[in-house]
Symmetry: C2
Subunit: 207 residues, 2 copies
């Protein structure tokens, strides 16, 4: 079964639910109400129920949702169940922060390769990953790495994206605040920290 | 005039439009069609027209939207027009990357203070900002800094949030992948990079 009709905004929330459900599962819980999940993930209970309704019915009145089943189903929908290996390009401050970041594992992600152009960095290990010469990005295809992370200065981002595409990368997480042009077969998600900061004042109470 | 009814998802896109409009404005353009703006920001033209309809009518058929008016209005709605000063806590790899990041200015943001607990960092300047002892977070209120950015390890995040609140901070951008409890008068936006990475495989074409 395919789920082509899930709205983007629901897809945006699914990882949030997934992390909350894993959190409860690790605490030994078997079932959870939309109300309790809502408290943890800061989404309205009605929104949670609506989101879950797109891909099935996992709730029992008075008992709540089956946590294990939901984790399995959300992972499957998000295509996270097989695990994913990602390559990072650019091991500056941001790249090093990404290598140190412990939050990827819960979603089955691993940063399995890191690249830079600075000669003094090549060969060094950062949080267990050896930094390779950026010329070796072309080897990613044969290494079974399908995701790419761009953490280079904005002027270099488009070039790296093109190298990723040539190497067979089909999903790119881009931290350079610049639009990247790739063929339709490749999905790019750009993360611009300033965009999130820019939403903050709107929600701040006056005075 | 207040805009209480703008959906969160529209608010999420407004900074994206704003950056695109500033980009075109700097190129000397006066008007833009929803179609041309759509190309730059990767949002459907109909979605743009719907989003703009929440706060007025800035379009003229055959001419397009008045870029200058739209920039002014979006800035006003997002409460960005007065400018904002933010304080950063935690000058590790991520914090240093944030201080180096050039994308805040377009939205009128400035990181005006940085704090850490590591003695060897205190007194140093990183990208023009002097790192202060975290004990001085309490001085933020009298310094007119209203936004806080948390870039500390997850175990320290809640404590920093509480210090921010005591110092009068009303908006927090949190990079620790952990839920933060604050009074209702304070708005928190948590950025979890893994959440964005977790959406990527869903959109990747098979094969």
């Amino acid at each position: 079964m395919r789920y082509h009709k899930i709205p983007d905004e629901t897809v945006r929330r699914l990882p949030v639910y997934l992390r909350g459900l894993v959190f409860y599962s690790e605490k030994g819980l078997k079932n959870i109400s939309s109300h309790d999940l809502a408290k943890l993930v800061a989404v309205n209970p009605w929104q949670i129920r609506k989101d879950f309704s797109y891909f099935g019915d996992f709730g029992t009145p008075g008992v709540g949702y089956d946590i294990h089943k939901l984790i399995k189903e959300i992972s499957r929908i998000l295509k996270l169940d097989g695990g994913h290996r990602a390559a990072l390009v650019g091991v500056g401050n941001l790249g090093a922060a990404l290598l140190a970041y412990g939050g990827f594992e819960v979603f089955g992600f691993e940063i399995a390769a890191a690249f830079d152009i600075a000669e003094h960095k090549i060969g060094q290990r950062v949080h267990g990953v050896e930094i390779e010469d950026a010329a070796r990005i072309a080897t990613l295809g044969e290494r079974g790495i399908g995701l790419g992370i761009i953490a280079v200065p904005r002027t270099a981002a488009q070039g790296i994206a093109e190298e990723f595409v040539s190497a067979g990368i089909r999903g790119i997480l881009n931290f350079s605040p610049v639009h990247i042009d790739v063929p339709k077969k490749v999905k790019v998600i750009t993360i611009d920290i300033a965009m999130d900061l820019a939403r903050l004042p709107y929600y701040m109470p006056a005075g």
